[in-house]
């Protein structure tokens, strides 16, 4: 049982590292090997940090396993909402700054659009279901 829980937690960390590694590899392919090393180190340190945190906190360990009881799922839901708000605020600020500098705001504007559309669709679907 404990081995299965450990395996799931390790899988959660592995997914984080693979996604981070993919970003680092993409950066290297794009012609920025030093940036790729920095990104790889950042994601590796993040993975180790999350691993250590999950050993101290049952809540974090449960979230890493994509399991958890109703309180842990509520924590996950709120944390997801807060991170979504942070990303949205960052994208809006980025769009404004890029426009003010006379530069192309497309990437930031695209993130804003994806967030806005996803939110609208989610509200529509969730209202119909609940």
């Amino acid at each position: 049982m404990k081995a299965a829980i450990m395996q799931k937690r390790t899988l959660g960390i592995a997914v984080l590292l693979v996604l981070g590694g993919s970003i680092a590899v993409a950066s290297a392919i794009g012609g920025d090997p030093s940036g790729a090393v920095v990104l790889a180190a950042f994601y590796l340190l993040s993975g180790v940090g999350v691993w250590l945190w999950s050993r101290r906190s049952g809540d974090v360990a449960a979230l890493l396993r994509s399991e958890g009881d109703e309180r842990q799922r509520a924590v996950d839901l709120r944390a997801t909402a807060i991170s979504g708000l942070a990303m949205g605020a960052f994208a809006i600020a980025g769009t404004i700054v890029q426009l003010a500098r006379g530069e192309d705001p497309t990437m930031f504007a695209l993130v804003c659009m994806v967030g806005g559309v996803a939110y609208s669709v989610a509200v529509g679907v969730l209202r119909a279901r609940n």
Partner: protein, 66 residues
């Protein structure tokens, strides 16, 4: 909202871990309910009532301002 979960648990000489296992939640969640940091869902509150053999309204009580 006040609750008597800690009182009922200790009177039955159960640990938080034992109660958590009975209810299928984490020990941290039992602690959060006992200290008032987390309000359980209606199904969980009903299961707590069932486990202690008491109506849920005798375990969870509204306070002024709730």
């Amino acid at each position: 909202m006040r609750n008597r979960v800690r009182e009922l648990r200790t009177s039955g000489e159960h640990s938080q871990g034992e109660l958590a296992a009975e209810l299928g939640v984490s020990r941290q969640t039992i602690n959060a309910i006992e200290t008032g940091r987390y309000l359980p869902s209606l199904p969980l509150a009903l299961r707590i009532g069932q486990l202690f053999g008491e109506p849920v309204e005798d375990i969870f009580e509204l306070e002024d301002g709730d």
